[in-house]
Structures are given as C-alpha cells and as structure tokens.
Assembly symmetry: C2
Homo-oligomer: 410 residues x 2
Amino acid sequence: MPQISKKAEAMPESPIRKLMPYATAAKAAGKRVLHLNIGQPDIKTPEAVLDTIKNMDLEVIEYSNSEGFAPYREKLSAYYRSHGIPVETDHIMITTGGSEALTFAMMTCFNPGDEVIIPEPYYANYSGFATMAGVKVVPITAKIEDGFALPPVAEFEKLINERTRGIVLCNPGNPTGYLYTRDEVKAIGSLAQKHDLYIMADEVYREFCYDEASPFSTYNLEDVDDNVVLIDSVSKRYSMCGARIGALITRNVQVRAAAMKFAQARLSPPTLGQIAAEAALDTPQSYFDGVIEEYVARRNFAVKVLNDIPGVRCPMPRGAFYCIAELPIDDSDKFCQWLLESFSLDNTTVMLAPATGFYITPGLGKQEVRLAYVLEQKDLELAMRIIAAALEAYPGKVALTETHSASTSL
Amino acid sequence: MPQISKKAEAMPESPIRKLMPYATAAKAAGKRVLHLNIGQPDIKTPEAVLDTIKNMDLEVIEYSNSEGFAPYREKLSAYYRSHGIPVETDHIMITTGGSEALTFAMMTCFNPGDEVIIPEPYYANYSGFATMAGVKVVPITAKIEDGFALPPVAEFEKLINERTRGIVLCNPGNPTGYLYTRDEVKAIGSLAQKHDLYIMADEVYREFCYDEASPFSTYNLEDVDDNVVLIDSVSKRYSMCGARIGALITRNVQVRAAAMKFAQARLSPPTLGQIAAEAALDTPQSYFDGVIEEYVARRNFAVKVLNDIPGVRCPMPRGAFYCIAELPIDDSDKFCQWLLESFSLDNTTVMLAPATGFYITPGLGKQEVRLAYVLEQKDLELAMRIIAAALEAYPGKVALTETHSASTSL
C-alpha cells in the first residue's frame, strides 16, 4: 500500500470537530445537544439573498472569472469604502471562503520553513493552512487575566528572527471575541514595517463589534501598503457560511499576481455563492442592528452567568460571537467529552470547544473552553443552567484555590 | 517590500487564460470572438437543477459537513453503482470542484520532491496542483500520429525511479479527447501494482464517450484497491461548472482520513452547489442522449473540416469535447495571438488554446492547438471557415513538407 505524505500526517485534526462522534452518539441515545461549540450562527440569512437565488434566471451555471465576477468585486469595493476602508476593485480577489484566501495567502507569501507569529489562543484552522504551506507557527500567548489583549511589542520582538515572515491577526478575534484597539493594530503595523513582515489580517467579524466600539482595519495602517493582506468572508456577516465566498485583498501587486496563478488553477470561486454574496451587499443596516442587539443580549447574559459560577472567569468580549471561559476543571478535553457522554439535564447536554485546540503551546487551555453564543435566548439559558450543574457534578472539578493558582501559573 | 514565495514564483500561469487580454482587446475593438479555447459548454444546465435552486426553502445557508452532505454522498454512490463502478458512500468526500479534489489528493499522497508521471499533452492545471504540493511532474509523451494512445509500458518503466510515487490519468482525456481502452487502463493498473504507485484518475468526462464506446474506470481495476484515487466533478457532466462541486473517492482508508483533515481546515464544500448537484443526479438519460448526439455532430463536423484543410491533421477523439489539431504553422502561441490581434472574417475571429500549454517537454505542441467544440453548429461552422481562411493568410505558415517532417521529428 502506498504511504501518505508527511504533510498529511502533520495536518492537525480539527479540534472543534473531533468531539463530533460523541455528540452523534449522545443524539443517537436520545439526548438533545445544544451546540455552543461551532461558529454556525442561527441568525437567518437576509431575505434579499434568498430571494435573489430563487429568482435567478441562469440557463447555464457557468464558471466566473478566476478573480470573481467583476460586478461583484466592484460593488464589494464600495462596501469597504463605505466602512472607511480604502479598497479598490483591483485589490480584490474573490475566494472560496476565507479559508481559501488564507491558503492562497500563506502559499503566496511564505516559503516552507518560514515562521509566522500568531497570538494564541487563535482560530485552530490557521494551523492547518500553515501546515499546507509548510510554515511554522510561532505562538505568542495572550492571557485571560489581561482579557486577551495584544501581548507587549517587546514579547513579539523576542520571537522575531531571520526566518520570521509574517504576523496573523484576527480582529475581532475568534476564539476570544477580543477587539484590538487602534493602538494595538498600529503597534502591529510598526512591527511589520520595522521587520518587513506580512500582516495577514482576518477581519471577517468586522460587523460584530459591541458597546459602540468600532474596529480599526489593518488596511488603514500607514506605511505598510505592501505588507497587509486582508482576509475576508461573507460567512458570518450575512449568516451564509455555506455560500463559501471570501476575499483576498491587498495593494501588493506581486502578491496579487501570484495569488491569481493559484486562483486560475482552481478556475473559479462558486458562481451561486457569488450571486448570493452580491445580493447580500444590499442588506440594510437594520438587519445588522437587529443582529447586534441580539448578540449583545446573548453575550451579556452568557458572560454574566458564567462569571457568577464560583471558580469561573470569563472576560467580556467586545466583538465576534465567542467568549473564552476559564473553568474549575482538570482538563477541558475530558470535561467536554464527559458533557456529551455522561451528563444531561432535562435530557439535554451542551457541546463546547476545549480551548486546548486554540493554543499550540503545550498545556495551555486545559482549564478553558470556547463558547459560541449562537443560540437563541431560551436555549442559551438552558445551556447555561446545564454548564453550572455540570461543573457541580463533574468528577474532575478542582478546588477554587487550585484553579486560581493554576491559572496564574499559566 | 516583503517578497513572494518560491512556490508562488514557480506556479505556472494558466496557458488557457493567458491570451485573455488579446481577446478582451479584440472585443473592445468591436470584433466578435468565438471561444473554442475553453471547456465551458454552451449546453444548458438540466431544468431540474435550476428548478431545485429556485424552490429551495432554506432560511440559513449553513455549512455542510466537511465531507459533504450525507444524503448527497449516498445518492452519489448509487449513481456510480448504476454505472458499474463499485463506490460506497464512505469512499466519497465531496470537494470544491475536481480542482480541490486534485489539490487534496496531491498533498495527501505526495511529498515535496516526489515524482508523478503524466502522459502529455495533459490538462494544464495538473502542473499547478503539483506545484502547490511541491511535486515534480515527469511527462511521458503521447503522440498525435498514434492518436494520443497510451505510450508503451516500457516507456513508463524507463521513467520510474525511487522518487516515483504516482501516475495521473485523465480518461476520457482533456485536451486530446482520447478514450483509453480497457487494456490500456489495465496496463496502468499493473504498473501501479508492481511499483506501488498511486493512480490519480480524473474521470470527469465519463458521460462523454462516443461511437458506442464506454469508459473503463480505474475503480474497476483489481489488486490496486489502495492505490486508486478517483477524481470527479459535476462541472461538465451537467454543464454546471460554476457549482464547484467535485469528489475525491478512494477505498484507501489512510488517504481518506488524511484528506479529511485538509477538508476540515476549509470547513465545507459549497452548500448551494451541493443542493444543485444532488438535484442533478435525477437528470434523465434523455438529457445525456441529446447532449451526446449534439457533441457527436459537432465533433464529426469539426474533425472532418480540419482534416480537409491541407497540412492539418486531427485524430478523431472518442470522448470529452476537445480535439488536438496539428496545423501548418510556425508557432501555435503566435498563431493564436495573431488570430485575436490581426485576423477576422465577417468581423469575427476565433480563440484557440495553443497546445504548448499542455506539454511540459520544451518545444512540443508548437504546431498544435486544442479546440473545444462547445459552440452550437452555426457558430462552429463559422469558426471552421475562419480557421481555414486564417491558415491561408497567416504569415507564419509553413510548407506542407516542413510540417510533416517537423511532426515526425517530434
């Protein structure tokens, strides 16, 4: 039998999806499972999007241009400009989700063996894209006691060597929900300029900022025009994850030309998804207002309940729809599996994402979980009651003092 | 300014799309351009597919499973079995087009520096996928004077060394239209078994076989269960290239598990495309009968006209919707560009694909072009008149005797 490649062996399994068999088994046994583990919002896709698909008058579902349909790209550049982000149509290549944009960006910008610095905890699939490109991820740890703020620039400097080629920044952040301040983004810009690094900026949660905060885009940084590669996606913005439409955006002409060669090899991004995504650009602000109101209510509720549980610490996120909670437990992987296998309340249990999957420094995240508050209020209330009860019943719970000392020692 | 990667530099430009600027200029100058250069059929997508999309009752366009929707995979396995190809549901991973299936397959099966043998001329994007995986393509030349039949096994044996890990086979073939016989496919199977090589079999043109020929799938080979990786796509079959739905199919459990890690990193194949592709499985045989009748008429016409032009040789293809023609010209790249820049008949010209893009052995294909007979009869007739007149007028035409000696010396 022929062997698989070293890269295939090195590819990480999705930490978010690896507990799926236990969830499947729980459901097969008749339990209801509330999914707080994934970023699949329950928010409805805008009506205009669904209507446009239903009223398509295509006779042939043809390829689009490799860089995406021209009218969609033009309209998309207007969207960015209306958000104060100076993106020209030429800067935009439409991709098959943000995932493909990241894959193309990593392959275009980095050589095998290059190093890229990523603040952890970070979106686990960055590790997969880095592995595909043969790139080594160098983590810099953001701490829960700091609310996951950007680690000090001096800490970055310590990690930069002759192999360092880039920094990946997710803002607002998945899994932390942390919104970087203007000063933090500018600090990254200065680092990139000083060491001539790429900044790969995943800004897919742009619309999801709370408490009247607004995001500062890396595309508005000065003096790093050729360093910034913006990654975007319509998945979360319009609750249309399945459309698989994203974008790779950069002023760097060389990066664009090279990324186009990868794009041409796969011919075209999805045509139906592009039709849907173009229609989505007409989504009125009232849709977002409603969505944000809903997420703020959920966030406020979830974070309060969590912090009220003895031994639990959960920083208040200001963006996206995730939070990280530190729990008085021995091991988040065991706890999340136990929730599915051995615990229920009203014949219902909760699926969470162990935070171990979002750190690559060994041992980190063992007392943390990520919650995606993507369920409506009623289910969210039940989920929180289940978590509180589970933390009472869990055989691997640790005493409060242990927790605090453990978290401090991390 | 940070530099792009060596891989990005090495990525080939699409030879099919590189003439696009000349076509755009011709159109801007008011000329009509008949596209025989690309595999975008003019055939209508089946009604049932378009109706299904229009009647979707989704409220949220959600992710699917990373391996694709289960009902679609089940129905797809039934499709294969109805074609005598023993594919189980578990063998199937749905991908974003055949392109992604090839990317995942190459990354899963091959290490950087590994060699893969591909009969040339071959689908140019194989080079791109190989470059992405760091794999070296070793070409074995199929000759126009043999109608592009499989080169002798002894020639393959000469190319196999300790770095050889696989063979890519496209059947029926793009760009040649050649349909490998059962014996030829079995010869590849024996080679793969003897040297423990992967066979990556691109069988996306399965339905397009003519003259009562039928394709023999590599999946029906014996004794190489773990070696065969089948690549498929709905793009051509149902004329829905823009749906971006393909499949990676294998009995090899290790390859499946590894490919799933790549699939999880990109979350899910397109949801709307999968809905369309599942509906397409209900397409009645009468649709294919009509399509095949149309393609046979076009093929018979185009190949006859071409062979009637002095100095032109065009083997009769038995599959797909392409043919390769040898022309009495100095350089196919120059000729194709000249057609767009400097020639017209009735203010109309033709865009062809220079065959140089389908060979990697330097110098080959300079007197050959690929034609995709994807235009309706009336336009095809005009296109053929244009080609005949252009070959009279082209400044770089070569004398008949030159052509024949040149082609023999290839």
